[in-house]
């Protein structure tokens, strides 16, 4: 169940290739009866390793759609999306599921956590799909929670946490499997500025200190300022 077992052409030139994501001519068109909605229009984009890329743009410009395709939870209508050398658009449903488990960490805008599980258990979820023993899982979960500064909140349920703490637990869950890529869709959209700052700080340090690649959608310029590169989307196209 390793990614390199998958029978997918390795399009990446070699492992020293600095870009982790290569997007070529990517389009996503929604057909609604007679009307076609073009969410993404022939986008080409390359994202380097250890980059903290922020995606900005007005509502409906296709930011989430792009992020979903890169993260392997949505499929494009045409074009290529190569992540870590794997053409994700060609993986089957279950190959994609495995691939996501090992390569991508998700942080969504709200309701990231399962309400019936504690912070610890929420973070542990992705590890239930691995072969780790419960002792190994525990170690990794605690490390991740420590990284986001919540080692003392392990047995709290989501409703017993503040919005900012919830997002930090979500980040801990995103990085517990040690993926190269972290994707976040407006992670600070519902937070006050102090909590937002904490969350953005953590994302930045994941990039700078832990060597992760972070892609974050936001429409807040202050949040975007935390990134190392900013990309604008306008009506499904990259704005210059």
């Amino acid at each position: 169940m390793q990614t390199n077992d998958l029978s997918v052409p390795l399009v990446a030139e070699n492992s020293s290739e600095p870009s982790i994501v290569q997007i070529k001519e990517l389009s996503k068109i929604y057909r609604q009866g007679e009307i076609n909605v073009t969410a993404l229009n022939r986008i080409s984009l390359s994202i380097a390793r250890r980059e903290f890329l922020t995606l900005m743009g007005p509502s409906g410009s296709g930011k989430s759609t792009l992020l979903h395709i890169i993260a392997g939870i949505d499929r494009p209508t045409s074009g290529h999306c190569i992540v870590q050398g794997v053409e994700v658009t060609q993986l089957s449903e279950s190959e994609l599921a495995d691939w996501r488990n090992q390569n991508v960490g998700f942080v969504f805008q709200t309701f990231n956590l399962l309400p019936v599980l504690t912070a610890f258990e929420n973070v542990e979820l992705p590890l239930l799909l691995t072969r780790l023993t419960s002792k190994q899982r525990k170690k990794q979960v605690l490390t991740a929670l420590e990284l986001v500064g919540l080692a003392d909140r392990t047995s709290h349920l989501p409703r017993q946490l503040s919005g900012g703490q919830e997002q930090r637990v979500a980040i801990a869950r995103a990085l517990v499997t040690d993926p190269q890529l972290i994707v976040a869709d407006e992670p600070t959209g519902n937070l006050d500025s102090t909590s937002a700052h904490e969350v953005l700080d953590i994302l930045r340090s994941l990039c700078n200190d832990a060597g992760k690649t972070v892609i974050m959608v936001t429409h807040d310029p202050k949040a975007a300022a935390f990134g190392s590169r900013n990309v604008h989307l306008e009506k499904g196209e990259l704005a210059p």
């Binding site: 993260a71 939870i73 488990n101």
Partner: protein, 381 residues
């Protein structure tokens, strides 16, 4: 946390709904088991060898039509017949009430020959045979009415135009039905204006091999007389008696199917609801790498768990009440004596529960399979 713990946590997240759905499964399965047990009780013929060798002869027209006394001599002469007794239902009121114990007029000295199973002290039997005004009763009736030996029992005739005052001289136990009362057929024979009729003849065949030929010979013997008869084994007789209730088996079985059908609908909609409100969470699980088959397994396990919990309460409760208390026997005034949950009935109820668990998870599994992650993420609680 284990996967099992995760499933359990989800199953009981909405405690009231989980409880209600477990209870609805429990109540329905309890009802199902009760119906099946009742059906078995009503249609269960005696299966021992003695009863297989007994033959009941009744009027071909109906059980309500009587038979002439002179038939007895003819029957006794048939080869393979060991004994014949008149056996007439009296159906009187006792202590001014309709009662649930049968009262039968018979020939006392043949009682043990023909109905050998019941246990009674020999001296009580002796007393019964020797006193034409005597009667014996089963232990259940004796206990129910607190009757003692030597007491007189007044029976008011309803079907027969006569009141009886019988001296209780014997109490038997371990018969087919420990409720019945037996008295001398002479009481009816010597009644004023008696036309010399009996309700039925009960015949004991000399051996099991004789049963078939004896039945045929008796039927043929009276075929063209004014009182044509229908002879059959006791077992067949009991079964035909049941069918007089209308097709009770069909009725009970169709109620059972309605119960099961309703149960399936209720469970399926409960599971669909439980899963629909969890769409976003299931989408998140998908995003972090859980595959369809794992989500199916969660849903199936939850649905199955609820059905199993309901089965434990419903079927277990029925088993506890029916097999370990006398509630039904006393509530039905000893009309339903055995009322026993057999392993077979338990198996049937558990099979229904299993089926339920599976069927209820089909629709939610399909909708989860169709749901894409992005679509699921858009649904907010």
């Amino acid at each position: 946390m284990s996967i099992g713990g995760f499933i359990l946590r989800n199953a009981v997240r909405n405690k009231r709904r989980a409880l209600l759905s477990i209870l609805s499964v429990a109540v329905s399965l309890f009802l199902l088991v009760t119906l099946l047990v009742g059906l078995r009780e009503l249609t269960q013929p005696p299966t021992d060898e003695a009863s297989a060798a007994r033959i009941v002869v009744r009027n071909k027209i109906s059980l309500g039509n009587l038979l002439p006394r002179r038939q007895r001599a003819t029957i006794e002469k048939i080869p393979g017949v060991a004994a014949v007794t008149p056996f007439t239902w009296f159906g009187g009121k006792f202590r001014d009430e309709e009662v649930m114990f049968g009262q039968f007029a018979i020939e006392p000295k043949l009682l043990l020959t023909i109905f050998g199973e019941a246990k009674m002290p020999p001296e009580q039997f002796e007393a019964f045979v020797n006193d034409p005004t005597a009667c014996i009763i089963g232990i259940k009736t004796a206990e129910k009415y607190g009757l003692k030996l030597g007491e007189f029992m007044k029976l008011q005739g309803t079907f027969w135009p006569i009141d009886l005052n019988l001296k209780l001289v014997g109490i038997y136990a371990d018969g087919i039905d420990d409720r019945n009362l037996f008295f001398h057929h002479r009481q009816l024979d010597e009644m004023p204006n008696n036309t010399g009729e009996v309700g039925t003849w009960w015949v004991k065949a000399a051996s099991l091999e004789d049963v078939g030929p004896v039945v045929q010979t008796i039927n043929a013997a009276f075929a063209n007389t004014t009182a044509a008869v229908r002879a059959e084994t006791e077992r067949a007789f009991q079964l035909s008696f049941i069918s007089m209730w209308g097709n009770i088996k069909m009725l009970v079985l169709s109620i059972c199917s309605v119960v099961v059908f309703t149960l399936v609908l209720v469970s399926a909609s409960t599971m669909s609801m439980a899963v629909r409100e969890r769409f976003r969470e299931l989408a998140i699980l998908k995003a972090i790498g859980f595959r369809r088959r794992e989500l199916f397994a969660f849903i199936l396990a939850e649905s199955f768990g609820l059905a199993a919990a309901g089965a434990v309460i419903g079927v277990g409760g029925a088993w506890g009440i029916f097999n370990h208390t006398d509630l039904v026997a006393s509530a039905s005034q000893n009309f339903m004596v055995l009322f026993e949950v057999t392993p077979r009935i338990m198996g049937q109820a558990c099979f229904v529960a299993t089926l339920l668990g599976i069927v209820a998870s089909i629709a939610p599994s399909l909708s989860v399979a169709r749901m894409s992650v992005v679509e699921g993420l858009k649904t907010l609680d």
